[in-house]
């Protein structure tokens, strides 16, 4: 049960081919960069973009299946959607925006407004019912959009970048509110975002979409522990090494050898947390089994921490303190040694 979607959409030079299943009561975040097909996926599930191949079914009912020529139009799908820029109806008050779906379903005006007012109260906007969308703040508009989508009592709730239109100052508050409102909804919830922070804060599982394909799908813990592609590793903020484990350790396709501890052989992934990498000017006498020499190609400050990209035979990102950076006096282009203990490298089969 729940939503089963295999979505293939072809559009001038781009192909989305994503397969995912979401249970009722679950929040799935679809995480991916701009242009990865996230919005197209949501539009297909909502029925706004018919799929070219594949199948979309909700609780056993087929919504879209080109093979058998089934297509349920958007107005007959039990799917609510909160759009990226909310797309409230500018000519209607906040209350009438929320009442819109009920009115479209034939509920009379008074009853629709009464129920819409209840929804506005639920999202904490009782006072703002008469306001026009143009007078609402970003956070308020988002809550009106959410109430409008939920008022039709959908079984699937889709959220397209629900926090992207907000400024940094209000994002945390709105994210917290959104989490609370999402918890109160029993159906399938799919959240599309390009920001891992939103995915971690709001979702049970994450599907990572890269160039139109699901690169990986799983719980946040699974994905963080076992990223299976370079892109996913970057998203979760770790180093991924791909190669084959043999007698000498892990050998990458470029021929570099990494000393690892592993109880298996064959094609493998290895991850190294940036915090586990020690950076020094000269090769130090160290217990670390791996030392890679390379030029610094990137220095990125995040608060009091610094991420240093090192163009060694295996490209690594190390995280050091700002104080360490200053002491070593590192600048882009400097040659440094990156040391990693074999025990800090976590391996798993491909």
């Amino acid at each position: 049960m729940g939503l089963q979607a295999h979505v293939t959409v072809r559009r001038d030079g781009f192909q989305l081919d994503a397969e995912l299943g979401v249970e009722a009561g679950e929040v799935l975040a679809v995480l991916g960069p701009n242009g990865s097909g996230k919005t197209t996926l949501l539009r297909a599930i909502a029925g706004l973009a018919p799929i070219d191949a594949g199948r979309i079914a909700l609780d056993g009912t087929v919504l879209d299946d080109p093979a058998t020529d089934v297509f349920v139009p958007p107005e007959r799908r039990p799917v609510g959607i909160v759009f990226q820029d909310y797309l409230l109806f500018e000519h209607l008050s906040a209350l009438d925006n929320v009442a819109f779906g009920l009115r479209a379903a034939g509920v009379d005006r008074a009853a629709a407004r009464r129920r819409a007012a209840e929804w506005l109260a639920r999202v904490g906007l009782t006072e703002r019912g008469r306001a026009r969308p143009a007078a609402l703040s970003g956070g308020e508009a988002q809550r009106v959009a959410l109430a409008r989508a939920l008022a039709i009592d959908p079984r699937v709730l889709l959220l397209d970048e629900p926090l992207a239109a907000l400024d940094v100052g209000t994002r945390r508050q709105v994210r917290r509110d959104l989490r609370r409102h999402l918890e109160g909804f029993e159906g399938v919830r799919i959240l599309v975002t390009h920001d891992p922070v939103d995915a971690y804060a709001l979702a049970d599982r994450v599907a990572i979409l890269d160039r139109g394909r699901v690169a990986q799908i799983g719980t946040i813990a699974e994905i963080t522990a076992h990223p299976r592609s370079r892109y996913v590793a970057e998203l979760v903020g770790t180093n991924l090494i791909t190669g084959t484990i043999g007698d000498d350790g892990l050998v990458t396709s470029a021929g570099a050898t990494v000393a690892v501890l592993a109880d298996f052989t064959g094609p493998a992934f290895a991850i190294v947390r940036p915090q586990s990498i020690t950076v020094s000017r000269t090769a130090a006498d160290t217990s670390a089994r791996n030392t890679f020499v390379g030029a610094i190609d990137d220095i990125d400050r995040i608060g009091d921490r610094v991420r240093v990209g090192i163009d060694a035979p295996i490209h690594l990102t190390a995280e050091i303190t700002a104080a360490a950076l200053d002491t070593l006096g590192l600048r882009p282009g400097d040659t440094v040694c990156a040391a990693v203990k074999a025990t800090d490298i976590h391996t798993y089969p491909q």
Binding site: A46, L48, A149, I152
Partner: protein, 282 residues
Amino acid sequence: MTGTAAAERGAAARHRRVGRERLPVPALVLAWLAVAFFALPFIGLLWRAPWGAVGTVIGRDSVRTALWLSIRTSLTATAVSIALGVPLAWMLARGEFAGRGAVRALCTLSMVLPPVVAGVALFASFGRRGLFGRYLDEWFGVRLPFTTAGVVMAQAFVSMPFLVLTVEAALRQLDRRVEDAARTLGGSRWYVFSRVTLPTIRPALVAGAVLAWARALGEFGATITFAGNFPGTTQTMPLATYLALETDPDEAIMIALLLIAVSFTVLVALRDRWLGGGRQAG
């Protein structure tokens, strides 16, 4: 002292900087020339007006009949333009069919045609001996030429393109995702069109309707060619004005002023209420 003076100069400079952008002098001269070009005819008209005879001229039955006919026919023509023009604009904006450009050109041709030519075309088609008019008469007993319906037809023929082009542009600019949002909320296509699309393009619809109405009110050439000039049935204000000019210039001027007053009042009223003159639009 000097400090204060400098501060004042500074304040003045700041004031100038936040003030209006200065236009180049030659452009200003030309702009005011254009204003004079539009203002002088009205000034001349007001100066020539036989103010003493206002009461008698407006009180004349012929004038009141023509005014009433003009208002009735121009409003009917506007209603026809809206009823047919909005679906046409929608089809031109959203329809995907071969020859759309040709259809648009055909449907807006009458806007650029000399009105007399439009009248001749209507006469050739819907006149009593016309290609279609013949059968309308034989089969249904409907006669359009030289009737009030013919006036409305001539007015709608030349004025509808103004509405179609305005509404089509607005439909093209509309963010269609707003309609998508309405559909996901359970709105059928018609419900979405009437409750979301139309209200969203309302400023353009009103502007287009006003343009079409003004064109219909002023329609002369097509009307006189196709519908003739019969007091009470087809003699609208512009026709009455033109004919009065030969017999009674004072009456012509008074009718002209009356037309101007009607148009001006409507334009000003709509400008504030709908067209967003000075204030934020839509």
